[in-house]
Symmetry: C2
Subunit: 764 residues, 2 copies
């Protein structure tokens, strides 16, 4: 355990730096950007789930007064119009086929929204209907219609073999990940009992308060894009590719983002907006409504078959998981999500024999990509539900069976990866105690459930740079590529700078994120900003500090080691010199600045399953108490306690907010959320029919326990968090429901109807 | 002489990077910035040249529908409302007095311009007239009315004594600079002849095509300003002071600037715009019209008395200069301009005994500040006119007398300063040859004139930083604080990067200038960007190159010294690896970037008169041939040849453009330009009545000779240029007029009326 440093500014629940700006409506989001001469863009979307695009004629639309440009497949041939996070399987607008109901077919740029809408109706499109697949079963059925005729398939394996990508030719499988250690058949042989269960996870949407929105301005070989996105540098790379530009001529600016959750990673609305600007030579604003964001990106529906062999006293011997992830019409980040789902399917347990097969499959539905939890949410739902099932079958206590199997601190999840970096027992016992696990429920139809989940950090190889600039008055600007998506990164990263430089927080500001000037960062994702960017920021501040001390030492005639920083001054026994003075003395003028730089990058390892050992392990522990109405099947969450291993909370109240937010978020897919399809049509892509939790669903008792052992690799022993809280929710609640009324739900969401039916079946 | 390196991209007349953008009207200037909810600002200006502000009542104006805010002296008391480049003698809006006709008294923010104008008319102001001073004679007369009752005065001396600032108490003198070497009285004693002449320079305006314009957005302790300015970092410092903010909470963004010439240095329209935004909590656009820019800043009118002692054979023995600079109602940069005028008054000659007294005086006219040439224009006009007068009086050839007295390369202008860094003779002989000096004029009323002027570089202590970021495709973004004011800095600085990195120019882009993210730079001024910022940029590129080579060496298993860069690839015998590949290999991912940093700073010296030895000497040589119409006094410039010591032209065609532009610029104050005052009112602040040269004034033969000896301290032996061409114009033309028709004009501009009158007097 690292010692806890004596912190002054980091470690305190400082007020959000962007708080006032946001609550007063002054904060600038992409939708607020106005440019002179800017047109309003609208997208014509396919009404059919799967069809050949026979003819498209924009002639009538182009003649409409107020229309600046129409974009169809005829316009994009000189561009590298195909793109994608993993495969280039998606086109700016449909070229040969449409692959889901909502697939962009054409786009209009017009003087205003009404004109653009009118023009959409004037575009004549002739489709030729094709047979479709809209779920995993249909997609993997032999002879299923193909979403993509061209093969896009990638195979990644460790310790197992499946064969080459050719194996998937003529199927809808676009990705396979296999992993094993030990011979799982041998493991099952050594088990006393082998249980096999199948769990399902629905298609859900990120539901950010701010739908996708982009402003694009293409002029003279230079593309500038303001956009709500989480990975501006990756986006820049994609856009440079599409428009044949050097990266230095693509500028991505990210204003505040109103929620992202993975739904704003990679390439979304940007190519259409940019292509319209490229064609019209005008600035373009393309703002999606909620329904369009639903038709842009979702979480992967999944089917997880999990087969576990245990000894009679509840020790896990072997586990085999077959995971199918429905990535929709285009792969997006699906292959990486599938890989992570596969890798994360084993759970926080010691399992001598293991085998995982994970498949990503195309269907004629909205593409699925990155989403808070990144593949872990689907598999944790399965393995922590099954853990209770096993306990029930063995007649064991659900806490006891977990404690028996949990990995110890320092044990390996898989060989080559970072050893488990915290005490998994500690958090589990804390939540168990908080929900008074041992005490029997005092009322009927109530029950308690526990869950413990683990995920490695990140789906990408992390590189992050940061710069801090101290002006001649000692105040500091921080340049960081971390996107403020609402998670509070500006405040927390500024606290790291303030701590290192012994400076008041209000002397620090964070520069606008702009790929032209901000140091490179891979993405704001995978709960890793505090660790990865935090380290880059801390190193930048330390670099600045070194220069400041060197300058002060020279001016004061001391050695740098004799000096200390406090409250914006350099001290050497009593006498304090303000930083601004040090800088003025250094430059011989009230001018100049000191710039510090820091960088973080992951290490690669040939031994690790995924190429690079995880930066840290993110853990989620949850304990729930529910009450079920036996007449209606309605579930009320009486109590929910979450615990998060944060290493050291840089801003405790923000950590609690993140963790509680994650739990509340998960109440959605646990109890309510599901994108409903019928005949390939999405029935509920709106705020009325798609149900999310509201304040009335808050449990009476609901809080997060922050575990701070200083065991994180981030600044001051901190550790990434913000996804962990999400992982155990569904299984903890399903486990509690089972305890309350004795029925087990295998398919999320756990709606009253499903519970009521299960209760009815049980009685029959 | 430095050896000329073998250059590929630097040294070529590459096409302007901002050319297409500008000629197609796509380039964004401050006036193009639009923000949601932005109001239009207008200023109420004093109609009186000097008056006490008795009462100001905005009540009626505030009630007008569409008015967002009115700013008067009552609003600004909580701010540090007084500011100024040298002294805090100026207020955001007038508080106690108005000091010139045009002085801002109040400001309005309204929904549109018409409403703002209407509101201006509803502000009731009561003035109490005061006696005024509107020129140098009135201002320095004993018992003159005082422009400022509070004393603002500074005294700087070297080798002479004048007394403390108290000496100027109760006068309009706000600055004094004195310098001497040797006892000048003794020098005159040793002279065969002593001549004393007095020259005058008129009040002229910068006349940038883009008048002053600012967009300000103040919200929640953060001020963002887009503005047409040349020194965003200095402006940031001033604004932080006025609004009590840390510098890190003031962000100054500078889009393209449509001409500056010193008129956009320091603080101009920004405090009013920012204060309106601060009061109204709305974005504000304040765009001056031409007339308002005329009422904002000008060049110093000057009276230069110059007394020179010479030997009979034309050797200068002693010179005494008394310079009075009229800085108008507020000091702005006037004290520094006065200092430089004093320092630059001696000319490029060997003068054993010298004494200079330079005074800055307040008058009730538009403030005067920095202006291309910065004090040198006024004094070179005097000393190079007198040089011909002396030659005439001694019956010597004007070229010969100059050659006899010119400082040699390596000689000192003043002890402690950088020795003269070029051959002054070389350029003079070149322009003499180009205008065929030795050949007598073939037609009557024509004559030739020569002039040679020198100025040290800069009025400020120079600090410049630069950053270059290379992306994973090998393209580069340059971050530089040099403002593109039209001088072509983006192109030339990019050429330096391209040369150092062996990269095509179109792979380089220049980031938007934004004090939050761009490294510190003092200002874009004093012809110094190519040298000062050029070095910072070159060092940044070299720093990047070092890292790139180190990464490539590691990947290629070579030593960095074995590798060379060519066309965007790293070579080691035959095999070239693209930079992007090197970066990907280095980071183990198609991601990341390499960042190089460079910095330049002046040295201070206790021996130097002005504290820091000049970075380089800028020289202007000019030769003119004119024809005078004896009936009308009209002057036609037949021929004008300029020579510029550029060390090494980074972009020759841009250097020529700069030098020719400077000459043409100077035709204005030489022949046409003058701000005319009557009863304290400026009569011609507009594009009709204020005459500037037009294309019809282009001489038939007109070009610049670039002298490239690689003797500059800048990148590849380059040297600052762009002001030099301006300096000799007026005296060369006056000298030619004298040769043509035998009359000597002492007061600029040399209008037909003045020549006609002089001819008439001569005949009488």
């Amino acid at each position: 355990m690292k010692t806890k440093p004596d912190l002054k500014i980091a470690g305190s629940s400082a007020r959000r730096l962007d708080g006032i700006e946001k609550v007063t409506g002054k904060a600038v989001y992409t939708g607020d950007i106005e440019l002179p001469g800017m047109g309003c863009a609208k997208i014509l979307r396919s009404p059919l789930p799967h069809a050949r695009l026979v003819r498209i004629d924009a002639g009538r639309a182009e003649k409409l007064s107020g229309v600046y440009a129409i974009l169809t497949r005829d316009d994009i041939t000189s561009l590298n119009y195909q793109y994608g996070a993993t495969y280039k399987d998606q086109a700016i607008v449909a070229v040969d086929k449409v692959r889901y109901s909502g697939d962009p077919v054409a786009a209009v740029l017009a003087v205003d929204e009404a004109t653009a809408e009118e023009a959409l109706a004037l575009i004549d499109v002739e489709y030729e209907d094709l047979p479709m697949v809209t779920n995993i079963e249909e997609a993997i059925a032999p002879g299923a219609p193909l979403v993509h005729e061209t093969q896009f398939a990638k195979v990644q394996m460790r310790g197992t073999s499946y064969g080459a990508p050719e194996k998937f030719k003529g199927t809808n499988v676009c990705y396979y990940f296999g992993y094993s250690h030990g011979d799982v058949a041998e493991g099952f042989g050594k088990s006393d009992y082998v249980y096999e269960d199948t769990f399902r996870f629905p298609k859900v949407q990120h539901y950010s308060l701010e739908p996708h929105v982009t402003v694009a301005d293409f002029k003279e070989g230079q593309l500038t894009v303001w956009t709500a996105c989480q990975d501006p540098f990756t986006l820049r790379d994609h856009l440079a590719g599409i428009f044949n530009l050097p990266q230095s001529r693509v500028r991505v600016i990210v204003p505040y983002v109103g929620g992202a959750y993975g739904g704003k990673l990679y390439v979304k609305a940007e190519p259409i907006a940019a292509a319209l600007s490229w064609k019209s030579r005008r600035p373009v604003k393309l703002a999606f409504n909620v329904s369009e964001s639903f038709k842009t990106i979702t979480r992967h529906p999944a089917r997880v078959r999990i087969k576990t062999g245990v000894t009679r006293d509840g020790r896990i011997v072997a586990r085999e998981c077959e995971v199918h992830m429905d990535t929709g019409a285009y792969a997006d980040a699906g292959p990486r999500v599938t890989q992570k789902a596969g890798y994360r399917a084993l759970g926080p347990y010691r399992i001598p024999y293991a085998k995982v097969d994970a498949y990503g499959v195309y269907t004629n539905t909205v593409p699925a990509g990155a989403f808070r939890g990144f593949g872990a949410v689907q598999v944790t739902w399965a393995y922590e539900s099954q853990m209770d099932l096993i306990a029930e079958r063995l007649g064991m206590d659900a806490l006891e069976i977990r404690l028996k199997n949990l990995l110890k601190k320092g044990e390996l999840y898989t060989p080559g990866d970072t050893p488990v970096d915290c005490d998994l027992k500690e958090g589990l016992l804390k939540v168990a105690e908080a929900i008074d696990w041992k005490r029997k429920p005092s009322r009927p139809y109530t029950g308690k459930g526990l869950s413990c989940c683990i995920k490695d950090a990140g789906g990408t190889f992390k590189i992050a740079g940061a710069t801090v600039k101290m002006s001649s008055d000692g105040s500091v600007v921080l340049l960081t590529g971390t996107v403020e998506v609402g998670q509070g990164s500006r405040t927390a990263l500024s606290q790291v700078v303030a701590e290192e430089l012994a400076l008041e927080l209000d002397k620090i500001s964070v520069a606008e994120l702009d790929t032209d000037v901000t140091p490179y960062d891979v993405s704001t994702s995978a709960s890793s900003s505090m660790t990865v960017m935090g380290l880059a920021v801390q190193r930048a501040a330390q670099d600045l500090k070194k220069q400041l001390l060197r300058a002060a030492a020279k001016a004061m005639g001391k050695k740098a080691a004799q000096l200390t920083l406090k409250n914006g001054k350099v001290y050497s026994r009593g006498e304090g010199v303000p930083y601004g003075q040090v800088i003025s003395d250094h430059f011989g003028s009230k001018a100049g600045e000191i710039i510090g730089r820091g960088i973080y990058r992951d290490v690669k390892s040939k031994k690790a399953v995924l190429g690079s050992p995880t930066t840290f392990w993110e853990v989620g522990w949850g304990g729930a108490e529910v009450e079920v109405d036996p007449e209606t099947g309605a579930i009320q969450i009486l109590k929910y306690i979450s615990a998060a291993d944060v290493g050291r909370a840089i801003n405790p109240v923000q950590c609690e907010g993140q963790d509680e937010g994650a739990v509340f978020f998960a109440f959605g897919h646990t109890l309510f959320e599901e994108m409903v399809y019928e005949d390939g049509q999405l029935l509920n892509p709106n705020l009325i029919d798609y149900r999310v939790p509201t304040f009335c669903h808050l449990p009476k008792e609901f809080y997060s326990i922050l575990i701070e052992n200083g065991n994180g690799p981030g600044p001051f022993g901190s550790k990434g968090m913000g996804e962990g809280g999400l992982l155990p929710v569904a299984s903890a609640i399903a486990n509690a429901v089972s305890k309350a009324v004795g029925v087990r739900i295998f398919d999320l969401p756990i709606t009253p109807v499903k519970v009521w039916r299960a209760l009815r079946e049980k009685k029959l």
